[in-house]
C-alpha cells in the first residue's frame, strides 16, 4: 500500500510539461499584434522609368512626346482632347515608327490619370517613360 501511492504521482509531469494558459496568452498577443500591424489590402506594383532630361537622352525621331494637361493632351505639339488621346498617340507611333513614348504630366494632372494613360500606351507595344518638366518642374 505504501508503494502504490509512490508510483501513482508519476503521471503528473506529463501535464506539467507545458502549461497551456501562458501559451494561449502569448499566442493571443501575437495574434493581436499581427492583426493590428499588417495590412490585408492587396497591393501590387508597376515599375516606372523616368527619361533623362530633354537634350541629354536620345530624343530622336523614334520618340513621341505626349504631354498630359488637366483638360487636354498634347501629342507631338498637336493639342487633342483627352478622349482622342489614344487614337492620336497610336497614329503618331505608326506614322513615325516610334519605339519610345515620353509621357510628361503637367501640374494639376493626378497620378491616377497619368498611370491610366501610361498603361494604355504600354499596350501599343512601345517603351513608355515618364518625363519631368513642364509647368513646375
Amino acid at each position: 500500500m505504501g508503494a502504490g501511492p509512490r508510483i501513482t504521482p508519476q503521471p503528473p509531469p506529463r501535464h506539467a510539461l507545458i502549461r497551456l494558459t501562458p501559451l494561449i496568452d502569448v499566442i493571443f498577443i501575437l495574434l493581436i499584434f499581427f492583426m493590428l500591424a499588417s495590412t490585408l489590402e492587396s497591393r501590387e506594383q508597376i515599375s516606372v522609368g523616368v527619361a533623362p532630361p530633354a537634350g541629354a537622352g536620345p530624343t530622336t525621331a523614334d520618340t513621341v512626346r505626349v504631354s498630359l494637361e488637366p483638360d487636354a493632351v498634347v501629342v507631338d505639339g498637336r493639342r487633342v482632347t483627352a478622349s482622342a488621346m489614344m487614337s492620336a498617340v497610336a497614329a503618331a507611333v505608326r506614322d513615325r515608327n516610334a519605339r519610345i513614348i515620353h509621357l510628361q504630366p503637367q501640374a494639376g494632372v493626378s497620378l491616377q490619370t497619368t498611370l491610366q494613360a501610361l498603361e494604355r500606351m504600354r499596350g501599343l507595344d512601345v517603351e513608355v517613360s515618364l518625363l519631368e518638366g513642364g509647368g513646375e518642374g
Binding site: 494558459t21 492587396s42 523616368v50
Partner: protein, 135 residues
C-alpha cells in the same frame, strides 16, 4: 493525501485540454495573418495608391517613399520638409541594389511624383516600384 494532491493537479490540466480547440483556431488565425498580411513602415498620413493592375509586391526594398495627395513626402515613415527631401534622397544612393518603393496617392500631382522619380534617377537609383491597388 497523495491521491487528493493528484486530483488537485489533474483538474487544471483537464480544464486546459478543453482549450485545445480554441488554441487550434487561434493558431490558424495567427498563421493567416502571418501569411496574408504585409508588414511595412506606415505613412504618417493617409495614402490611397492609384488603381492599376500590376505584379506582386517585391521584397526586400531599400527605402519606402510615401507621397500624400497634398504633396507631403515621407521617407521610411518619417515626414520631411521640402529641403530635407533632397538630402534624404541623396542619402539613399549607394545603399544597395534593392529597389526603392514609391507609395503615392492616386490624387497626388503626377508632376510632383515624376520630379521625385527624376531626383532618384539623378542619384543613380534605377529601380523604382510604384505601388498600386487592384481595381
Amino acid at each position: 493525501m497523495i491521491g487528493l494532491q493528484n486530483d488537485h493537479r489533474r483538474h487544471p490540466a483537464d480544464r486546459e485540454t478543453g482549450l485545445l480547440p480554441l488554441i487550434n483556431v487561434v493558431f490558424l488565425l495567427l498563421a493567416f495573418y502571418l501569411i496574408a498580411g504585409q508588414l511595412s513602415p506606415s505613412a504618417p498620413f493617409a495614402v490611397t495608391p492609384p488603381e492599376q493592375d500590376g505584379t506582386a509586391l517585391e521584397t526586400p526594398v531599400r527605402t519606402i517613399i510615401h507621397i500624400a495627395g497634398d504633396g507631403s513626402v515621407a521617407i521610411d515613415g518619417e515626414r520631411l520638409e521640402a529641403d530635407a527631401i533632397q538630402r534624404s534622397i541623396a542619402a539613399i544612393e549607394g545603399q544597395g541594389a534593392a529597389p526603392v518603393r514609391l507609395v503615392a496617392d492616386a490624387e497626388a500631382d503626377a508632376a510632383r511624383v515624376v520630379s521625385i522619380l527624376a531626383q532618384l534617377r539623378d542619384r543613380g537609383v534605377e529601380a523604382v516600384d510604384l505601388v498600386t491597388r487592384q481595381p
